[in-house]
Symmetry: C2
Subunit: 200 residues, 2 copies
């Protein structure tokens, strides 16, 4: 038999595919099982019901999303910040250091679909709020590290404002055809130029 972890991974990948194809409303255990090449019974062996499966999927997607966002620690904080702006506005497929563009697009879309459930689901909303707070702290840490000493009081403000812009870019990219995100991208970089006050 197959390892349980392997089955879970297959199920999660299948949810990703079914979600992009049919949306949340079209997400059935039957479709997930067909996509994963498993019996429905095998899915119910790992997940008590559809809600249980979908909340596991929320965690799975948040994990992928966090891994994409939290960059390698060796790189210059300013470069990491600027790359995050580019990823939000250009998409991973066009950002300079994209490693796996196809998967990246899938993860962004899945994250947005899952996140949109938070509009009516309090459990999702609380979890999304935690993740947003982690992302905000990460952006603030990078901003603080990239700033000279005189400006660091401003780091939280700058990071929080950038986060709103990035949320807008992700949302526009996943729900409209070819939105023009170049003005936001250029303004975000200019905003960093003004606030970092770095010498280089």
């Amino acid at each position: 038999g197959e390892e349980p972890d392997n089955t879970r991974e297959r199920v999660m990948r299948a949810v990703l595919v079914v979600l992009r194809r049919h949306g949340y409303a079209g997400l059935s255990i039957k479709r997930i099982a067909d996509e994963a090449g498993l019996e429905k019974a095998s899915i119910y062996h790992h997940y008590s019901d559809k809600d249980d499966l979908l909340f596991s999927f929320l965690e799975f997607v948040l994990g992928l999303f966090e891994r994409e966002i939290i960059q390698q620690p060796g790189r210059k904080p300013e470069d990491q910040l600027r790359e995050l702006i580019d990823r939000a506005t250009l998409g991973a497929e066009r950002a300079s250091t994209a490693r796996n563009p196809e998967r990246a697009g899938t993860v962004t879309e899945a994250f947005m679909i899952v996140r949109s459930q938070a509009i009516h689901d309090r459990q999702y909303r609380d979890r999304i709020t935690e993740v947003d707070e982690q992302l905000r702290e990460h952006l603030a840490d990078l901003t603080r590290a990239a700033m000279d000493d005189q400006r660091q009081d401003n780091a939280d403000h700058v990071a929080t404002s950038l986060q709103t812009m990035m949320a807008g870019a992700f949302f526009q990219r996943t729900t409209a055809v070819d939105p023009n995100l170049d003005p936001a991208r250029r303004d975000a970089h200019a905003y960093l130029d003004r606030h970092l006050g770095a010498e280089d």
Copy 2:
């Protein structure tokens, strides 16, 4: 008997309520009929199927959203722009000229739920793209009217960047608990200060 238009309005209002309570995935004709106080047969008299009903609902919500966004023509363009920033970041309930806060919150949430369907549904995505383009033109018209003559080449850029920030604010407000949108709000106003170059 009741006027058809009246029934349609009742059905649309019922979809709004069911959507906020159960999300897209929980939206059934049965629930909509119960909420509207109608028989299912009466709903099928007006709509051929659930997809037909939901696409009508998309148009209904976009109409409400546009009416909220497109302000009275008598007001100063700069004031209209600044109020739109405040509506996006504070919510209609806290923006200065809110007329009907409860309905406004409902409409924003419904718009966001419907818009999130665009991630996997091309028909929704095309329609959302048209509405975004109308909103962008409206913002650009206001920006151009609020600018002095020397700066007007910049109006499209400024309007498009503001639109991304506003999309982020709407998205964060509807999917997270009490996100801090004050930095984006203050930066958007400061951005207008720099770009409008108005005397007052």
